[in-house]
Symmetry: D2
Subunit: 401 residues, 4 copies
């Protein structure tokens, strides 16, 4: 049917869900590495949109190297202060001139960073709590004609790269991912003492799951140590509730275990992120494209955030393989663990990878042959629609970290 | 009577008002050098107030080295855009720790810069049109006990320095100073197309005064070349009116003489300052402490803006000598031209200068002996009250550029 | 025998050597990401030695965030020039004061960067072709007493982290690793036209190995396109020879496949690294601790370079697990594929990991029970000697990328 | 005879030599402000030469805004160390592309700074004791055709600006100027303990001259406090000898008066400049174009160093007026004090100033009419040869600070 090189095979190994030890981590949106990821990706989207608005197609750029240098702060119950600002350097390449017209690349990048921070780390005062500087060099000047308003072509692969995705999430993965999202979503909305720098670590040994949360508290909303303890306990209870939605296993939750009440060392911050006090950050050092760090699974080293979504094959394949894995598992019954890997072939359109391989662990009683055709069809369809990944990235529908 | 070394002498030279050629210049508050001056001084005041608030006295600091690196812009009738932001580096020394407590020196400096820009260059979007960075090193750590909440001592001079002031302003000086202030005050308020980067040059040859104004127009408020020409003409008329308040001599006014309508080269800006497009600036390169550049008069090379007002002898003496000269001329009749110079003496309190000399050109029919005692008394009194200069600087009552 | 929690198990999966598709990559020492890694690690070692020299023990620091911003160059046969310098920002935390004495942390970091660059990217003129700036904030001030001149203690784990190592290298891995090392070693010494930015990609499908090398040529040593082609061909031949030392499989070698002689696009550089022209770099984005990027194997996301080797559990465990795997395979016969993983336990000494698990694929005819005791003994011994990793890192005996 | 508007007049005021109080200052080449001046001017010359070499004429640039941020050091007898490097930011505008060719403006600027520092502040290790960064924006792109290899035209004045020069130097001026030059020349060569940051202040009251020298000593060459005292005393003696070559008045010399041996506060440095420890610097804040700060004489506020010597009218007129004054006094007998002032006229060639006025104080028995024609002829000739100033600046024959 298809001419794409799609290989589907059953593997003998245990599904990650069934392995005896599992480790999962998620750095929340306020973690310094995630701040770098988030800014890099929002700058990328802003540049894509700038180019589409001004010249009708996405020009060459890459903004995947934001560097965050931590500040210094003096938190205090009821409200402390930032002493030295955080410094963020936007780094990358961008096309600054097209057809004789100068494009406000630096200004747009700074605005994107400002807006992203305002939305996600609202306690950070832009320009005083955090200085954002920019060094975007001219790129090589190769223009990309492949993704425009009027027509969209499938670009050629110009690199040997690969992407890898998985589905479904294990229980532990689901817990870690959702705990962070719930804490940074509805919980923080109702409880402004919780800052966005929430780091969640999950460890499962057989049927015992330990969830460890490090949650930066915002000092302006916490009057004293009593309120702090209440906040920690309240977070703990909330996390336990969230976790129980995803598992029947035993779950133990710890919050801010590094606190030492005796010597007054607690996780109190002015702005809700440890970037204010000593924790540096940069792009690609934290969560993978599916939002998690999963040492039990193969991962790509490629930083996804900030890369050009039109032609960066590593970014596209990481997002696409995850999308494929999730779609397959959603539509096809009987899969306990699925890994999809896409390997590019230099000089070929990216919808024709060198190989797309799917490794399936089926559920008991299911044979690969029962489902192979369905899996193949979905992979084939998703590959055919590869440029949709680009569009969804530009529109902000796909997260990269 | 007094033990201060005050020398008053009549000089034979012509008053500047009576010399045949006179040149005067004022860089408006939106000029890149003035932006640097203004930020440096506002940072200085903010630090003085921080120290007074936190530790009850002004600690060691010096913030007289702001560097502005110009940006790049693309102005257009109806509203253009900034392409590359202006970069401003706050430079100096400050005490960052006192009695075990960290003081938010960097944060306060950045806030002062932000507030100053918002007030004076309102079209500049902080953090995106202009990046402000900060490098304030630790100072030598010498603490200043001399200017506190509870007691104020006269500090010792620790340097050989001098200050010089003049009064009254000549007609040309008055015109130049007031033209800029009126344009940047009531005129700009009524006519938002006028940006704060207004540079005024006055040249008098005998009784002919030429006033040349370079005025940055703000593109968002100017729809086309016709409106631009109207604006230029309107400014010209206004300046002529202001000038005529200060002189009966012939006044010729030119505005934006470098414009070339044929090749479309006009003084149109996005933000109202040439700093957006190629004009760098730094402290102490523009107006002297009295707000003017007056090559016909002795001037101090010392940058006044940003210096510590408690113990920087050059700053204090420049401001004080100007204050003395103005007070003398306001209170004593018969002076056509007065120059006051204060020279410090290392190791002595600054209210006892090595010498305070006043050079007087009297009006016709007035002898120095008629007024000498009055002049002497005022100088003596002002010197005795030297710490009042410090207080007025901190309170923002004295301008430094 | 031991109380350490060491788990050794046979796994059913195929050894990586026997899987049908294998991908391996190594970014050479002149690659922008490797430059960042190399500087970060050399700064780390310099600070360790500074602290040992001055205060007899390693103080708190972390320098794992070097950011490289690419320059711009104009290469030309016979010798071109750098137009805009590369900019490198050293980022991290360090203890700057101890016992009242100021420690020259910034100066030492800059010297380390300078010396590293001189040694490894010799064509780069320090300070003109590359600007190195530094932002090392004060750390949290916790002092580390555990690693001193006089006594060395095993530190406690303060984080949940893990490390993973493998042995033996597959043929493809061996080729990729050694091709880069040989090219950047003896080959470059004899052939100065070869720059240090050599990127090697290996792809094996069953018994066909494709090696793709991107090698930056140094323009001063290449007179014309003919010499360039000769150089490329010569590298190709050399790489083929190296590869054949490690395999009997079919090997195909390509060098600088992105060259397009028709439009004059070739991989010619002034300084031997693509950092001179548009390729940014940062720490932890390239090779893992064993020098390779191996998507077929579990990898740690942790950046190893620049981390404090005394107490950064991720760094220590990544290096130690690799060391263990290599030692086991060197000493014990019959192992086809070994993965060692160390998982820390907060609050316990790091020589007592939460779990040390070894997953073994034995050779045909070998049972795990035949070798289990030997494997266990080596793991136990290596864990007991964990502080030796720290010492070897500080002495520069262990590479981190 | 000539059509240039040259006005020569006798003035009634006292020659500066005969006034009762005179103040003169010179910041030596190692002073932070002078370092900024020196780098700015050497960058300017390097760019002029780059443009002449590459395109045969000097293109648009201006590099008059170097900012120096002080470092931090820990001097010690026998040799201390730099703790935090000095940071120098090169600021300005330059043409980076001409006729499709990219010009290595940044690289050349950095090399010029490096070479200047190596020559003048040799103890400063480039790149580790001092970081030099660069922000040279694109200028307006106006090309200067006026100063090329093949033909040289007199440029038009595009600004109202003026320059002022004086001759002969007073005794005090001569002493101040030559003391610094001798100390930084032959003395430092023989006595390496003397650093280049030598600040000389001269104060004359009637016939009493006080010379105060602040001389940074280099710690590596001074073993203990005894050697330090000897060095100070030796400098004092040397300065006295130099001074006596220029005057018969009483001369008192003080060296390092701020030293306090009791509390160990002395002027000891690692690198020979106070920039290593807390003294910031920038262009145009120190010496005027004749090398001195002379509050008794009219001075131009314009920074001379770093300005484009082809078309910056302030720079050219400051240098030219000084050159004229010196030439007149060298060739014409009977002049006790001469001030030459050049005022530009917008739109006219710069060899036809709006007015060139010379104010002469003749020696006793000499009438202006005796010498007027000679003075006029020299001024006329020098003006006619104005482009020679540009050439001499580019060749480094004229100093600017």
């Amino acid at each position: 049917m298809t001419e794409r090189n799609i290989k589907i095979e059953a593997v003998e190994r245990l599904a990650v869900e069934d392995q005896s030890v599992e480790i999962v981590e998620r750095k929340g949106i306020g973690h310094p590495d995630s701040i770098a990821d988030g800014i890099a990706e929002s700058v990328s989207r802003a540049l894509s949109n700038l180019y589409l608005d001004r010249v009708g197609k996405v020009l060459h750029y890459n903004t995947d190297e934001t560097q965050l240098v931590a500040g210094e702060s003096s938190p205090a119950f009821g409200g402390g202060e930032v002493i030295e600002p955080i410094y963020i350097l936007l780094v990358g390449r961008a096309t600054k001139k097209y057809d004789g017209e100068k494009l406000p690349v630096d200004a747009v990048a700074l605005e994107a960073a400002r807006d992203y921070l305002a939305e996600n780390i609202p306690e950070l005062e832009f320009g005083t709590d955090v200085i954002v500087d920019v060094k975007l060099g001219e790129g090589s000047g190769d223009l990309q004609d492949v993704f425009g308003e009027d027509n969209v072509e499938v670009p050629m692969s110009n690199d040997t790269s690969f992407g890898v995705g998985h589905a479904p999430l294990t229980e532990t993965e689901s817990i870690v991912l959702n705990v962070e999202r719930q804490l940074n979503g509805p919980y923080a909305e109702r409880h402004p003492y919780l800052g966005p720098d929430v780091k969640v670590m999950g460890k499962r040994e057989d049927d015992q799951i330990d969830i460890t949360v490090a949650a930066a508290m915002v000092d302006a909303h916490i009057a004293d140590i009593g309120e702090y303890k209440d906040a920690v306990e309240h977070v703990r209870g909330y996390v336990s509730d969230v976790a129980r939605e995803y598992t029947d296993r035993d779950v133990n939750v710890d919050v801010n275990t590094a606190d030492d009440y005796d010597d007054g060392s607690i996780y109190l911050t002015v702005t809700g992120t440890s970037a204010e006090m000593g924790d540096d950050g940069s792009v690609g050092r934290g969560n993978r494209a599916n939002g998690l760090i999963t040492p039990n699974r193969p991962m790509s080293m490629e930083a996804t955030s900030g890369k050009n979504p039109v032609n960066h094959i590593g970014k596209i394949y990481n997002l696409l393989s995850t999308d494929i894995a999730e779609s397959v598992v959603a539509d096809v019954e009987g899969i306990r663990d699925l890994q999809v890997r896409l390997l590019s072939q230099i000089g070929r359109p990216i919808d024709e990878p060198h190989v797309a391989d799917a490794k399936v662990v089926t559920e008991d009683g299911v044979e690969l042959s029962d489902i192979e055709a369905d899996v193949q069809a979905i992979i084939d369809e998703k590959l055919a629609d590869v440029t949709n990944v680009t569009r969804r990235v530009i529109d902000g529908e796909l997260t990269t970290f």
